[in-house]
Amino acid sequence: MNSRPPLSTASFRERALAGARYAADIIPPDTVLAEIVRSPHTHARVKRIDSRATLAVPGVLAVLTAEDFEGIRLGHLCADEPILSSVARYFGDGIAAVAAKDRQSLMRGIEALRIDYELLPHAITIDDALASPVAIHDFCADNIAEKFQAVRGDWQAINSRVALWVENTFETAAIPHAYLEPRACLVRVDGKRLELVCGSHAPSMMADFYRPIVAGWGSQLEVVTPAIGGSFGAKWEHPSQLVCLLFAQRLQRDVAMVLSRRDDMIAGRTRAAMRIRMRIGATAEGELVAKETTLWCDNGAYSLHGPAVMKAAAIRGDNLYRFSAIKADAQLVYTNNMPSECFRGFGITQSTFALEQLIDELARRLKLDPAKLRLSNTVREGDTAVHGWKIGSCGIADCLDGISNRIDRHRRDNALPRSERYRTGYGLAAFIHCIGNRGYDKRFDRAFVTLRTLPEGGIRISSGEVELGCGTVEVLIKTVARELATNRDQLEVVLGDTATGPHGMGSYASRTSFFVAMAALDACRRFKRAAEQMRVEFGMTKPAEIGELVARARQQQRLGDLEVTGDYQPSGVVVPDETGYGNISAAYTFGAHGCCVQVDTYTGKVTVTQYWAAHDAGTIVNLNETQGQVIGGVIQGLGFALTECASVAESGQLLNPGYLDDRVPTFPDAPPVEVLFTDTYEKKGPAGAKTIGEPPIIPVPACIANAIRDAVGVRVYQLPMTSERLWRAINDDDARSGPKGN
């Protein structure tokens, strides 16, 4: 059935040697090219599309509009994103699509397209959207896509215990995911079978989502995952894929679309911008008692994972501390901005910016050491945290100790004379995170790994999870090579191929390594059982060399009996209730970061001169890659903290759709990062391991903000903390008074 051999997934080594092939590299020269035609208006109803001139351009093959996708909407949680829209809801929303035999005809065809709009009032801020009489979606009159509330503990009782509240409002920015590979997809046609080749971090989920749609057109669908140049949470379903699928189905020809960098940025997704009002209350001795959060999340024009991101931001970080009482009130607001999407940290990165600054401020008010204040309040092994998380192995104390020692030593060794202009400060921030989320998909949180002994020799390891640069290939090879005592050269890894491999939920929620390693362990156990049975049947003496056995199985055409699929589902996890209560993950990861900053008080420019990141990721399976993940996360966080922002004009137009003006850090911006790992063993994990994926970015903005506060006595409550904003705060007497207390 499968005409092509599956694409084996590139290892780090192959990537480094330029051997990886991305979707855009696989497109054959005679493939039909497609583009989406985007609205230059932020909110407008399409009155008329005149495609006659387009279709008259030689080489143009077809035009699609909203009508061709009637009734089809993207969105796992709230299906509200049309493939092509009859109402432009953000600057860059897709209105039509053109396919042509080559790029030049395509561009001519697009330029010939005429679209008439009726302009509508737009809302690009949360406040405008809440006040606007104009609904962005017909089904949602008040522009509030979803609300969330959680109350825990006895709020009457805490009032007598709280001696001090600290409170403030924080704002985080929408930023693009800034992966290196712009979105690209290729659809190959094989009769009724469509094969979608694209870099997604959740190819099986994508196939689950698209199959019923494609079935409605009378076709079948498989998804193939080539090398992926980064996703960070962005590369779920996207209109470009269905556009290519429909063109391919109609034209019965292979169709491809490769977004330019600019178009990828105006029509991509962003981290959800949030406004977070938060207060925390503590006793005079520094025992954390209560936390109250009011949160507004800018959903953008379409929901994607907005509802889940909002909920995670509202409460998840609370699980780090032994709060007695929690209140959270959050709303997800439709605006005429680019749709927001999950992004490394899933909303917790945003709320940690608020929580960890308030903890720091509390320590200042109570004149307590910020590391000690945290140490005496964090959850411990055996705790059930405030939102029901059952804490297993927990290395937070070691992380805090490690960072606190590094800061003390650095302060001692670098006692610089205080200059009027340059000030130095130290900051610290901590976090907790999960490994997968049983609540993400009501069906299960699960992974499979299949081992197939190949007729030509060697074993193919397949999984529906993918390699995003987090070392999935290496984890699989290491695990299987060790368990089956085989040579690595005998192993081939194929990830994210729905036609030949098992189902996978996808590489998100820091779950991949943990889940695939557990499933691989199970697969190896099954493989050994099957091999043992076969050995007995063949009457071979123990211990049979696995190679001998395989040779015999091949001779007797019995290789199929050695094909096994391992399965892993965490035990003891539940889908949380509607208030977010429940143990969602088999184990939890922890960490603390510290940094030293230098602030130029004349310009407000912050330079991070040293960074320390301590993580509890369980046993470290691959030190190099894990360190790489941490350093990468820190640098990514540095951009989120200081320089990155989707700048949107009042008209709604994105002003910086490129990396010259969306300032992702460059190598010279990267501070030295010292990475520390705790010596934690997680009983439920593969060989004691937990994971590293998202965590390294989570505490970065708060850590830097706390260091800035230490250096110059003020805070910038808004991300990014640009030089100008900090310069203003330094020169604003009101800002010096700090968060309001009672």
Binding site: V37, I95, M107, L113, D263, T603, K605, L660, P668
Partner: protein
């Protein structure tokens, strides 16, 4: 209400008719025919991708005479095809025009500088163009050629008209730029503020060139120029004048900085507000003068070194 622009054009290069003549005459034929000059292409090609035009270009890289550059005692002459990378690797150039060398060093990245020409930066006439303030304090003259043999020299200050606009008329080529090198008792420097350390555009920038009296510290002459705080790079005449006749002290520096900040004409946009840009000018003027002070002490202008 209907609307004129009905689509965002996908950001891809349009079909380009590209000419690659090997003589100046050939270049002129193409320009007369409406072709746009393509040097390193680092500004023009991204622009063409976004806007779908120009669709006719003439690449000047095949014209041998435009590749020359010379550094003699008095003046530097840089041909239109000389890349910023070539310049920065030339020690004579760095010694003769420290401010210009500083500014080139800031542009983009290594790869970009190996592709981008100095004259391309001048002809792009971006308010934030890094080399412009530095070239202004080195009294740059742009060589404009209207047709083979018809040449004129225009001061850079006059050449720059508005963002993206220069004195070049249709059919004209900038064949080179010349500027003065440091003489005895002179020093120059350039500084800028960016949010990122590399691959970023100046939010504000300052160049200065000072001439000292024989005593080694009294300012005999000064030129100060500002970038990204006006429609073009600006010469800050009053600010420079305030230094002349005085030794460099905290006070004279700060007066100069204050005048520069007052006289510049910044705008507020998504990169920065006008008053922040003024503040940066103030800080950068003092920093640049401080840098010049340091450099002037480090090596003697007659090239003997320390």
């Amino acid at each position: 209400m209907g609307s004129q622009v009905s689509i965002i054009r996908p950001s891809y290069l349009p079909e380009i008719e590209l000419f690659r003549p090997s003589s100046i005459d050939g270049v002129f034929e193409c320009i007369k025919d409406g072709a746009r000059v393509l040097a390193g292409g680092t500004d023009l090609l991204p622009w063409a991708s976004q806007h779908g035009q120009p669709r006719k270009m003439v690449w000047i890289g095949n014209v041998e005479p435009l590749h020359g550059f010379s550094v003699d005692d008095e003046r530097l002459q840089i041909g239109a095809c000389v890349t910023q990378g070539e310049l920065i690797r030339c020690a004579d150039f760095r010694r003769a025009a420290p401010a210009v060398a500083d500014s080139v060093q800031f542009v983009g990245s290594v790869q970009l500088r190996n592709q981008a020409t100095l004259l391309g930066n001048v002809c792009s006439a971006s308010p934030a163009g890094d080399t412009l303030p530095a070239l202004l304090v080195h009294e740059a003259q742009v060589e404009i050629t209207g047709a083979p043999g018809q040449e004129r020299q225009v001061s850079l200050d006059d050449f720059l008209l508005a963002p993206g606009k220069t004195m070049l008329a249709p059919g004209e080529l900038a064949s080179g730029v010349s500027f003065c090198g440091l003489r005895a008792n002179e020093m120059s420097a350039y500084r800028r503020h960016t949010e990122r350390r590399a691959l970023d555009l100046a939010v504000a920038s300052v160049a200065a060139r000072l001439v000292f009296e024989a005593d080694g510290y009294t300012v005999a002459g000064a030129r100060v120029a500002l970038g990204a705080v006006g429609p073009t790079a600006l010469v800050a005449i009053e600010a420079a004048k305030s230094l002349v006749g005085h030794p460099l002290t905290g006070e004279t520096k700060s007066i100069c900085a204050a005048i520069a900040a007052e006289t510049c004409k910044p705008i507020s946009d998504f990169r920065a507000s006008a008053d922040y840009r003024r503040q940066l000018v103030k800080v950068l003027v003092e920093d640049v003068i401080g840098e010049i002070e340091q450099r002037a002490r480090i090596f003697k202008p007659n090239g003997e070194g320390r």
